[in-house]
């Protein structure tokens, strides 16, 4: 699929090997400014490796990495960050014991003063944190509260706001909705759209097509380290995306297996039967998001 030469970030035929293991093979993808590219894949599809290549943690064994049309060869995530390629990791985004404003500026603290008397400008830090979060529509209670007291969705949102504030041009989001309840996932999706509307190219990595579809402009499906499909939104309806992601045949087989088990099972299999029925009845449209147990 061509990008008409306007891609902000593009990878071409990227391969990554770890010894004899082929983690990625000939993967190509791109993101334009003000668009959301979704990288979809089930566990083991190579998502994590791809994130690490994109964010500068790993170097690709083969292939090209282009930013603004220029070839890049990052030695560390710091170099990618300096170009404006910011990555928000799923669980490593924030430090729970530190306050929100200290987290917000960690690594890029504003300073005042001169020489050895340079100090961390706390007033500016607190005010900016509050106002930047408000700008993203994030309603923070008190910048002094520790991140540990925030919900998972709030943490992801603060991390996204931080990346936007520090001038991210490309935002790489590693499963930002994975551990969240339905409502909170919705909140995070809202901030993804906010970031996109501010002209940022967003790479949204997820295994959940239900989350990807509403915000994505195009979709790259990874399977077993290779690109299994690459579609713009007009080209593919949600149902087909879901089918492609999980591999329709596999899912059908699972459904039958579970149904059989539920019929055989007497009292002791009651729990399993319930699960099977829930999954079975949900299968055609795959129902709601599976993770509904998150805190609200």
């Amino acid at each position: 699929m061509s990008n008409n030469g306007t891609a902000l970030l593009e990878i071409k035929n990227i391969s990554k090997y770890f010894g004899s293991v082929i983690a990625l093979q000939d993967v190509s993808a791109f993101v334009r400014a003000g668009e959301v590219t979704c990288l979809l894949g089930d566990n083991g599809a190579g998502k994590s490796t791809l994130i690490k290549v994109l964010s500068g943690v790993h170097k690709a064994t083969e292939g090209e990495y282009l930013f603004n049309g220029e070839r890049q060869d990052f030695d560390s995530p710091r170099e990618a960050l300096e170009l404006g390629i910011a990555t928000v990791y799923q669980d490593l985004a924030m430090i729970p014991l530190m306050s929100v404003w200290r987290n917000f500026f960690l690594g890029s603290e504003p300073t005042k003063g001169w020489g050895p008397f340079k100090y961390f400008d706390a007033k500016f830090g607190k005010e900016t944190t509050t106002s930047e979060l408000a700008k993203m529509g994030i309603d923070i209670r008190d910048p002094e509260q520790t991140v540990g007291t925030l919900s998972g969705g709030e943490r992801q949102s603060v991390a996204i706001a931080r990346a936007v504030y520090f001038g991210a041009k490309v935002l790489i989001l590693d499963e930002p909705t994975a551990a969240l309840g339905v409502k909170q996932a919705g909140v995070v999706l809202k901030y993804i759209v906010q970031a996109k509307n501010r002209g940022i190219g967003v790479i949204f990595i997820t295994h959940n097509p239900q989350h990807a579809y509403p915000v994505g402009d195009h979709f790259v499906i990874l399977r077993r380290g290779q690109v299994f499909g690459d579609f713009s939104k007009e080209e593919i309806p949600l149902e087909q995306l879901v089918q492609m992601m999980a591999g329709g045949a596999d899912l059908e087989a699972l459904k039958h297996e579970l149904e059989e088990a539920s019929q055989q099972g007497a009292a002791e299999a009651a729990g399993l039967a319930e699960t099977a029925e829930a999954i079975g009845s949900d299968l055609p449209e795959l129902g709601e998001t599976p993770e509904e147990q998150g805190e609200s």
Partner: protein, 359 residues
């Protein structure tokens, strides 16, 4: 886009949110890491003031004795607090202390008796450089091997204690060296490190000022500099901190240099004060420092704590020591008593912190 983010705060000033309870100043104070230790210090003092009433525990002279006793431990505890907030341990500070002290003494000892006959200040400078180098060695080994610092510094504890004894004996054939007051440059060193200040008829050692200075600088670094934020971040979650661009390896190495510097400083203070050094000086101080830091509210797991709390921890330790001495309890019971008081202090401290965290 950058210019956009620089624009003044948009609209809606953060008005009082209905989810934020009005938190009183008192509750905020309770939530501070040093609060428990501060209160603990008061309670320990009151305890001894009552049971050692006949022995004049609650007196100015006893207070001076406690402060003099607390100062060296306080200097060490402040540096160890920063290191532990940064998520690492240093068990080698006692050995660095012994090494630095003997380095100075071997260098100033006349060549006739196996030394090098240096003047005092060059010897102090050499000890400083060596101590910092040991700090770099500890830190580099920890970040390079990714092994727990507990193990690495346990190894260097033995390495440098052993080196101290072996080298001292190799050069001078002795394990104790004295007569520092006969070395040129001693007068200035004596004023700086071992003089006494008379306040209301009782003498306080100048090392107390070094302790307060260290605590003030450490607190400034922790709360008001970028590097302080990096220390909290590194100890709170090393990977997360690294991901946002904190140079976590440099932070850790710098913190190990900090504890080595504190050990050097105490070595100089003690060498000048006792006009000599001993190869076993500083033995066990690493544990006392860790105890003071933990009593002072710093989490063993890193990411949370304070230098002021560590200072209170050192004060509690000194009060218990002094209290036992002046009540005339058999010295054999000292360690038992210290252990019991410290367990109580830590439990109490934890309890206060949990209470405060619940708000």
């Amino acid at each position: 886009m950058v210019s956009e983010t620089q624009s003044p705060p948009s609209a809606e000033p953060p008005e009082a949110d209905e989810r934020v309870r009005k938190v009183s100043r008192l509750t905020r104070l309770l939530a501070r890491p040093e609060f428990g230790a501060g209160l603990g210090a008061v309670l320990v003092w009151v305890f001894f003031a009552i049971i050692a009433n006949d022995n004049n525990f609650a007196s100015w002279a006893t207070f001076a004795a406690i402060m003099n006793r607390a100062a060296p431990l306080g200097i060490l505890a402040v540096a160890v607090a920063l290191l532990m907030i940064g998520g690492e341990f240093d068990l080698s500070i006692g050995s660095i202390l012994g090494f630095a002290g003997m380095t100075i003494m071997v260098l100033v000892t006349p060549s006739a008796t196996g030394g090098f006959g240096w003047a005092l200040w060059p010897a102090i400078l050499a000890a400083l450089v060596l101590a910092l180098a040991i700090g770099v060695f500890n830190g580099t080994l920890v970040v390079a091997t990714k092994l727990p610092s507990f193990i690495i510094t346990l190894a260097t504890l033995f390495i440098f204690r052993g080196l101290t004894i072996a080298l001292a004996r190799l050069f001078t054939n002795r394990t104790q060296l004295g007569n520092l007051d006969e070395v040129s440059g001693f007068a200035l060193a004596d004023t700086l490190f071992a003089s006494e200040i008379n306040i209301f008829g009782t003498s306080f050692r100048v090392s107390i000022l070094w302790w307060f200075g260290m605590a003030a600088v450490a607190t400034w670094i922790l709360l008001r500099t970028r590097q302080g934020n990096w220390i909290f971040g590194t100890g709170g979650d090393t990977n997360a901190a690294r991901n946002v661009g904190v140079p976590v390896n440099r932070v850790k190495i710098a913190l190990f240099m900090g504890t080595a510097f504190a050990a050097f400083l105490v070595a100089v203070i003690q060498a000048v004060q006792f006009t000599g050094a001993d190869t076993i000086r500083g033995t066990g101080l690493e544990f006392q420092a860790i105890i003071a830091v933990v009593v002072g509210g710093t989490l063993l797991t890193g990411g949370y704590g304070s230098a002021i709390g560590a200072s209170f921890g050192a004060l509690i330790f000194a009060m218990v020591q002094q209290g036992i001495i002046i009540t005339g309890v058999d010295g054999d019971w000292f360690q038992v008593f210290v252990g019991v008081v410290l367990v109580i202090a830590v439990i109490f401290n934890n309890f206060i912190r949990l209470k405060a965290a619940q708000r």
